[in-house]
């Protein structure tokens, strides 16, 4: 049924967990739209024929709406609209909230290409390789102008902005290759900014992970080849934290210092100096690096300088990934290393407290 509907209105295959629900709502909305259009136009056509003018001086009787008639139409139409909103909003909430156990891939967009950086430290251009049946969260930023990450077959889209991180997630339900298109106008080669998602079976994905080992020992985080050393993003994050002296004020082991500790920080609720409560997610962490004065945690003085323009996108991503690895305390969990596949990635040994 849903396949027939897809073919009828030119929808691409639905290859993610959200696609079927979105397409079902689509079918509901389109069918109702067709019915309403037919009804309105049918009524207009019928009245035009039935009440056609017989003489140019013809007079008509006054015929006005009753409150009941108007109210019943309004109730019916508004009820339908609100029902669509309820259904659409529920799906939207599902689409913007990645499951807690998602694997993360960092995405950097620039005119006119996509760069994907995996937790084990390797990166690829324009081709995103993921396993089927695993939730994948993309933490995305742009190096220049606004782009938009769009995979039609997954029914997902998210703008990618310079200077901040946005997230999108998906779980592919079938293997295959699906196009990625940039959906936000970004300059002369906007229409050539295309890539693809390659969805592999879990076994193939494990092979792919192994095959890539050791190939990306040297990471370029925007300061020349090898500037960030090697290893996975967490390891790179450690090096960045040392080099930029983040650890002069932030501890990794839970102790209070000039600034809050990074241990257990990720995902926790923070009470700010002005009484607001916020969750320490990627956006919050990024903002705190770029605009430290925006969200000062209660009990701390605002002494941190801004790192806007001095931390590269890759360095920022690595720091966020480091903080994320400390979410459950000082010892990094195996979360970043795809536990479902029992695959260990590089630099695990270096993760001490």
């Amino acid at each position: 049924m849903i396949e027939l509907f897809r073919r009828l209105i030119f929808l691409p295959v639905g290859a993610s967990t959200v696609a079927d629900g979105v397409d079902a709502l689509h079918a509901f909305v389109i069918t109702a739209t067709m019915l309403v259009s037919t009804y309105v136009f049918g009524a207009a056509a019928w009245f035009t024929v039935r009440y056609r003018r017989k003489s140019d001086r013809q007079l008509t009787r006054r015929l006005s709406a009753t409150v009941r008639h108007e109210a019943s139409i309004i109730t019916l139409v508004l009820g339908t609209f609100l029902l669509w909103w309820v259904l659409g909003f529920r799906q939207y909430v599902e689409m913007v909230q990645p499951p807690r156990d998602s694997d993360v891939v960092y995405v950097e967009a620039k005119q006119w290409m996509w760069k994907f950086t995996y937790p084990d430290g390797r990166d690829t251009n324009d081709v995103l390789t993921v396993p089927v049946g695993r939730p994948i969260r993309l933490a995305m930023t742009s190096r220049d102008v606004i782009h938009s990450f769009y995979v039609p077959s997954f029914r997902i889209k998210q703008d990618v902005l310079p200077g901040r991180y946005t997230a999108v997630w998906f779980e592919a339900t079938q293997t295959g290759t699906f196009p990625i298109w940039c959906a936000e106008y970004c300059g002369v080669s906007h229409s050539r900014m295309r890539g693809e998602v390659v969805v592999l079976s879990q076994a193939d994905y494990a092979l792919w992970l192994r095959s890539g080992k050791g190939q990306t020992a040297e990471i370029d985080c925007g300061r020349g080849p090898g500037s960030c050393g090697g290893g996975d993003l967490v390891a790179i994050g450690r090096q960045v934290a040392l080099r930029r002296a983040c650890v002069a004020c932030h501890t990794l082991d839970g102790q209070r210092h000039v600034g809050p500790t990074w241990s257990g920080l990720y995902g926790s609720q923070r009470t700010l100096a002005d009484g607001r409560k916020v969750v320490a997610d990627d956006a919050y962490l990024t903002r705190s690096m770029m605009e430290p004065a925006a969200d000062v945690v209660a009990g701390y003085a605002q002494v941190m300088p801004t790192y806007q323009g001095s931390l590269t996108a890759a360095e920022t991503g690595a720091l966020v990934e480091l903080i994320r690895s400390l979410r459950d305390g000082p010892v990094a969990p195996a979360g970043v290393a795809l536990p479902a596949l029992e695959i260990t990635t590089a630099a695990d040994g270096g993760r001490g407290p």
Binding site: I9, F10, L11, P12, G21, V22, L25, V29, V36, S37, V40, F41, A44, F47, T48, Y51, R52, R53, K54, D56, L59, T60, R61, R62, L63, S64, A65, I73, I74, V77, L78, F81, L82, W84, W85, G88, Q91, Y92, V93, M95, V96, V145, I146, S148, Y150, S153, I156, K157, Q158, D159, L161, R164, P179, W181, A183, E184, Y185, G187, V188, S191
Partner: protein, 541 residues
């Protein structure tokens, strides 16, 4: 027929270019607007031809990007925003309220010349590098592009002043210059629509002016309001831009709705099903329309709560349009319906507006928007509203008030033919674009994957039918302007106030005290003191 009209009172060029007569200013606007429509249409046709094949067809990627930007900027700011208010609003609003002119006639002339100045600036930008940002000017792309951003944006800024002054003029005119005994509830619904539009123009346009200035500063002096590399916030721009540009959608469509109310009542010879519902829903649109801008940004980076709130508010604003559609349709019931050219255009409006409006509701159902956002689905949706709505209403208005403005009548047969062509051409052009959007084709794509080509070819073919319909319209209206037979004062037998004076009207609009004794939609008894003039109508048919 040598009686004095606003057309033959004085005929020097100076008497036209320095006129303060609201009717002549309306004509000046109308001529300029048609020029803008032709220019914007030229770019549209070029874009459609480029899409006949993937990759290069007739232009380079840079030319394509500049063309769709100019198409958007010209159509939005030089054609659609001023379209019906500045031309027909200017011509008719004072007559409909029984005044000799607008409240500030000289300000009215100034606003026309501001409009011309801004238009010239936008056109100049075409020749000094063009602009390639799209009509939405999103930073940081617009902060860094080397194209002629300052010239074009300052042009739009100046046009904004013209919009504000026109709106202000209409608000004051409606409040202070209504004829004695003409209460709000006796006003023609076109006046209500123009009044609600004017309120939006006065309140929303300053925000656009401000935000465009900031982009110009970012672009030319490298300030950093919206550029993250300098500490700015590009999403802030989007909030400010859509704070204007969503209400602007109602600036474009509300006057069209006013036209539809007039045409439906006249050609059904019947009172509107609910005058109050139509009048108040205009205010509903104007007010709630200010609170829905965030639905342009569901995937831009906004909190889930904000997105949800904007989703609900968008559902609420849609209900006011639904109320209007329902009341127009039911006005036909029990009427005496004559399917003439203006009414055929109104039927096209109804069909396309319902379709465009319902797809608008669909994109406000938020999970669907994630797939459709920035694809051809959205392009099709807003063309159904803007072209299917505003342009068909504009054409309905031209055909309905042509005898009022010129005193002459066009060929009804050619009118019906071209209206059918415009409708069919429009539908064939834009319906395939819904399907392209479903398939995932992003907008503003110069090059596209080959599987989309068949739908693009159908769309391009439709655009030729649409252009043919408009060309025929231009020819027979041009002919009727000089050779059309005399229409008489009230060829449609309307009860509305603008038909209760001669056609074309005298310079001061009325020969004697205008009769505002009856309801403008009362067809229950013969018009007191006149005949319904059936002769002219038969001749026209």
């Amino acid at each position: 027929m040598t009686e004095a009209t606003y057309l033959n009172a004085r005929t020097t060029i100076r008497s036209w270019v320095l006129t303060t007569d609201h009717k002549r200013i309306g004509i000046l606007y109308l001529v300029t607007l048609i020029f803008a429509l032709v220019l914007g249409g030229f770019f549209a046709m070029a874009l459609r031809i480029e899409h006949l094949t993937p990759g290069h067809t007739v232009m380079t990627a840079m030319t394509y990007n500049r063309s769709f930007t100019l198409h958007g900027v010209i159509m939005v700011w030089i054609f659609m925003i001023p379209s019906i208010p500045a031309s027909f609003g200017n011509f008719l609003l004072p007559i409909m309220v029984g005044a000799k002119d607008v409240a500030f006639p000289r300000l009215n002339l100034l606003s026309y010349y501001l409009f011309i100045t801004g238009t010239v600036m936008v056109l100049v930008s075409m020749f000094v590098g063009g602009i390639d940002t799209g009509w939405t000017f999103y930073p940081p792309y617009s902060s860094s592009t080397p194209t002629a951003i300052p010239t074009a944006l300052l042009g739009v800024f100046v046009i904004g002043f013209s919009t504000i002054l026109t709106g202000l003029n209409f608000v004051v005119t409606t409040h202070t210059m209504r004829h004695e005994g003409l209460g709000w509830m006796k006003l023609p619904l076109f006046v209500w629509a123009i009044y609600a539009t004017s309120i939006i123009q006065v309140l929303a346009t300053p925000v656009l002016g401000m935000v465009l200035l900031l982009v110009v500063l970012d672009n030319s002096l490298h300030w950093g309001f919206f550029d993250p590399a300098r500490g700015g916030d590009p999403v802030l721009y989007q909030h400010l831009f859509w704070f204007y540009s969503h209400p602007a959608v109602y600036i474009m469509i509300l006057p069209g709705m006013g036209v539809v109310s007039e045409v439906v009542a006249t050609f059904a010879r019947k009172n509107l099903y609910s005058y109050r519902a139509i009048a108040y829903s205009s205010f509903g649109l104007a007010f709630v329309g200010f609170l829905t801008w965030g639905h342009h940004m569901f995937v831009a980076g906004m909190s889930t709560f904000d997105a949800g709130a904007f989703g609900v508010l968008s559902m609420l604003v849609a209900i006011f349009s639904a109320i209007k559609v329902f009341n127009w349709t039911w006005t036909l019931k029990g009427g005496a319906v004559a399917l003439k050219t203006p009414l055929l255009y109104v039927f096209a409006f109804l069909f396309l507006f319902v379709f465009g409006g319902m797809t608008g509701v669909a994109v406000a159902a938020m999970s669907l928007d994630v797939h459709w956002h920035d694809t051809y689905f959205v392009v099709a949706h807003f063309h159904f509203i803007m072209v299917g709505g505003t342009l068909t209403a504009f054409l309905a208005a031209i055909h309905y008030w042509f005898p009022k403005i010129t005193g002459r009548m066009y060929s009804e047969r050619l009118g019906l033919l071209s209206a059918a062509l415009v409708f069919a051409g429009f539908f064939v052009t834009f319906f395939p674009q819904f399907l392209l959007g479903n398939a995932g084709m992003p907008r503003r794509y110069y090059d596209y994957p080959p599987q989309f080509q068949p739908l693009h070819i159908v769309s391009t073919a439709g655009s030729w039918v649409l252009a043919t319909g408009l060309l025929i319209t231009a020819i027979y209206l041009g002919h009727a302007l000089f050779r059309g037979h005399r229409a008489g004062d009230n060829p449609w037998g309307s009860r509305s106030f603008e038909w209760r004076t001669t056609s074309p009207p005298p310079t001061h609009n009325f020969h004697a005290t205008p009769p505002f004794d009856i309801d403008p939609y009362d067809y229950t008894q013969p018009l007191p003191g006149t005949d319904d003039d059936p002769a002219a109508e038969k001749e026209a048919a």
